[in-house]
Subunit: 138 residues, 2 copies
Amino acid sequence: IPQSHHAGTGPQSARRNQPFLTPPEEEEGGGGMGRGKIEIKRIENQSNRQVTFSKRKNGILKKAKEISVLCDAEVGVVVFSSAGKLYDFCSPRTSLSRILEKYQTNSGKILWDEKHKSLSAEIDRIKKENDNMQIELR
Amino acid sequence: IPQSHHAGTGPQSARRNQPFLTPPEEEEGGGGMGRGKIEIKRIENQSNRQVTFSKRKNGILKKAKEISVLCDAEVGVVVFSSAGKLYDFCSPRTSLSRILEKYQTNSGKILWDEKHKSLSAEIDRIKKENDNMQIELR
DNA sequence: TCTTCTATATATAAATG
DNA sequence: TCATTTATATATAGAAG
């Protein structure tokens, strides 16, 4: 439902949405867009923070989907709001699991330390036991 | 280095960057931005695909950083180019590992089935070996 | 491949329902 | 809390080097 951008069709009662009367004042090279320029720092007002989160979260998920389709890229995105609600995206034809597997292989970083370490430790422990028994057997 | 937006200061030899002579023609509601509207479908030309990937990858990582700061959100992004190169972002004060741990708790999905299964299988195997030896020992 | 340049398309901050 | 509107700020497609 595109609005006509010209004057209007009658005695406009709407004069809301006044344009800025003062120039933006140039903060710094952050990001943001819209009516006024904003600084990239924590939004203190909780209500505004939530609104901005909701909008930007949608934006990122959309961008993620777009790059995955346009560029045939594998993308995984996980976002938690400050309230702890989860949102995520994963490119088609794969899974977060597979992407993360690839991440580890590629980066050398281990993502699941805890569980992984405890399992690995158990293996080591049992193997040692095993070795001792082999020695005893002889 | 902002350019002056007005005519210029001499006999312009530059007449590149011609504006569109034909209206955009309205494809569909995808996304994209810039000179022409593009459809959200795989870019077949490899060179263009790589260029677009590079630009959009930077865009997403920037957006991820911004939302994490502005909205105090936890964000993890992993991107692989179609050539297999890895790029990632993780919000400050946390780690991908921690984010993924939270993801699993929150979504109920297990991300590292494979690895876990293989490690668990190894443990079982070794334990069995172990048991057999114990029996032999007696 | 990377950078710069710019016209255009989008994203989004604020204001308002 | 969410949807709409609108002015602005950004992102980025395409062109060129």
